[in-house]
Symmetry: C2
Subunit: 340 residues, 2 copies
DNA sequence: GGAGGAGATGTGAGCGTTAACAACGGGGGT
DNA sequence: ACCCCCGTTGTTAACGCTCACATCTCCTCC
């Protein structure tokens, strides 16, 4: 079956021979150089087509010193947020003419991020986006190879890199204020995993509003983003007397809480109002439809590429930039004026 | 700011000089060649560390003719299924020592897939996984460059490539039979977008069971995977007299249907039983918790890499293989014996 | 004690492309 | 008529690595 004379794919020299020109002329045609006679160009193109020639980007990258590939380091791309962000990144990168090389970490630790960055650097990527919203990712960003541009998504204020993020504090304020405006005495909170930077922002915004309204500040309940953890928190909350409003750090946990309340016969929003965060596509169809705060993950992805490209263009004289994507409050049916 | 003497990153020759050996010895150390004296190895390693040297994989790829990078072509990685599959692929690829280069198409058409394959081929990927469950992706797979191994996920029986898929027909049978066993006279169906191969399989399995039980076969309702389309289908279904059981082609649409029924005061599962498909993490916490059919997307991803690697190893004398991942029925609270 | 062999290291070529420069011809300005 | 310049094409040398082969040393075995 396999012939011993192992057919090599055609190279530039083959095209050149066939078209009766030098390989350099072929290169010029491929790179849209202006100084090629139309007739010559046509002849080269014909030869390329006939031979089924494909340019070897590896050889090209060796001499040009750039691969037109961007690296993306991300955490658990099964989650809606990271998945959407990465999707936005990929689309934006490709429409700017770049490829995307992915590394998905299952756990985020400094070493893991550092390794990923190292691998990508070895691969010769022209830039890197790190979607690593955990605090533990930050140290790895500090000692990234300085010669390669990096943008962090939700990366905290880690000094030395550009950052794109959603205004978590503002989003949490929106949610909390909405609940207060509805007449609730205070708002409980189900939080996300403590290591996540977003989690802090949401707690901060929530607390802010409560503090400046002079309301009691209940202890936040722990969660891990999963519906199950929201369910458990919901069970606990239902046992606490006087709870009428809950701000949950993401929609999936809100779903879990909704489930817990349904099981216990607590009516939402009549007895308890709930606000989520993220606005996943399912939220609108929860029972009841979930009032939440939308994060535009697509915009986050696009902006991270925007910043990265700018940085790549600017080269050395680049000062790190920060872009904040505003969240948007989405009112639906899981919140209502306090009954009492 | 930018010095004219533009510092180049160190290369192998620099390491060699520093360690007092030849560049070839450095190469041997880097590639774990056995024939290097321990003392020499240590010296080289020290030089590497001191210089902060990183191997240039591009140059390496040029001569070895492989990049240790795998290409993945996928459709809308925002959806849970594709996202999980791609995640599984990435994990498996990386643990086998490969990088993953992603191309996410927003619409699947033959030209788009063909382009993506072309780009990846130019990039020099060692193999490609195509996660393109639409029928329109198949033609592009036919004329893929023959010198590069390809595995398709849910790729139909497109002759010339290896395929990994979930047994959709079997899954649909499980769902439908469950409903029949519960005493329902027949089972309605809300389908997915017609171009998807999985959709056919689910319809086939559903119809099979109905036919062999001699039951009436209602016209399937159209859907597009989104909760909204499930909601609309649910609204229509509620208006049809005598509907007691519905098999929905995915969990998100099932959520929409659940919402529609809730709004209309139709009680699930008392009046209507619903079975979904996929078992997304949220399903367990729907109201009521959704009976569904689990697809192990992670396994699909792992198997696609497994097949791809085998194929890469075998080289020319490779006969295309097929792996089917079994689905699993998950009973929860959205189904019940027919009341009447 | 010399041949043979195995282990350790060095040398030169080449992977397929682009960059820098050279060469060549023909038109326009003086 | 001469020179210069521009548009077009070719020639040669990198890019940073691995592969094939040459070399050298030291050990073993008869």
């Amino acid at each position: 079956m396999s012939p011993s004379h192992e057919r090599r794919p055609p190279v530039m020299a083959d095209v050149a021979t066939k078209a009766g020109v030098s390989h350099q002329t072929v290169s010029r045609v491929l790179n849209d150089h202006p100084n090629v006679r139309a007739e010559t160009r046509a002849r080269v193109l014909a030869a390329i087509h006939e031979l089924g020639y494909r340019r070897n980007m590896v050889a090209r990258a060796l001499v040009t010193r750039h691969t037109r590939t961007l690296g993306v380091v991300s955490f658990d791309t099964t989650l809606y947020g990271p998945a959407s962000t990465v999707y936005g990144i990929e689309q934006a990168a490709r429409s700017a003419g770049y490829f995307v090389s992915m590394v998905s970490l299952k756990t985020i630790d400094t070493a893991g991020v550092r390794d990923a960055l190292g691998y990508l650097a070895e691969q010769g990527v022209d830039g890197i986006v790190v979607v690593a919203p955990q605090r533990s990712a930050a140290p790895a960003l500090a000692d990234v190879p300085t010669d390669i541009p990096v943008v962090a998504v939700e990366g905290g204020h880690s000094g030395d890199v550009s950052v794109v993020s959603v205004d978590q504090v503002h989003g949490a304020r929106l949610a909390t204020r909405h609940l207060l405006d509805l007449g609730h005495e205070t708002v409980w909170h189900i939080g996300g995993p403590p290591d996540w930077l977003e989690v802090e922002g949401r707690i901060e915004g929530w607390r802010d509003v409560l503090v400046s309204a002079g309301r009691p500040i209940p202890e936040p309940l722990p969660g891990d983003w999963s519906p199950r953890s929201g369910y458990q928190a919901g069970l606990r909350l239902a046992a606490v007397p006087g709870v009428t409003a809950v701000f949950v750090a993401n929609d999936q946990m809100a779903l879990g809480a909704l489930r817990a309340f349904a099981e216990l016969g607590v009516r939402v929003p009549e007895q308890i109002s709930i606000v989520g965060f993220d606005d996943i596509p399912e939220s609108e169809f929860f029972t009841p439809p979930l009032t939440t705060v939308r994060q535009d993950f697509g915009a986050v992805g696009r902006w991270s590429i925007e910043l990265l490209l700018r940085q790549m263009e600017a080269g050395a004289e680049w000062s790190h930039e920060r872009h904040v994507v505003p969240p948007r409050f989405v009112a639906r049916a899981s919140t209502a004026p306090v009954h009492a």
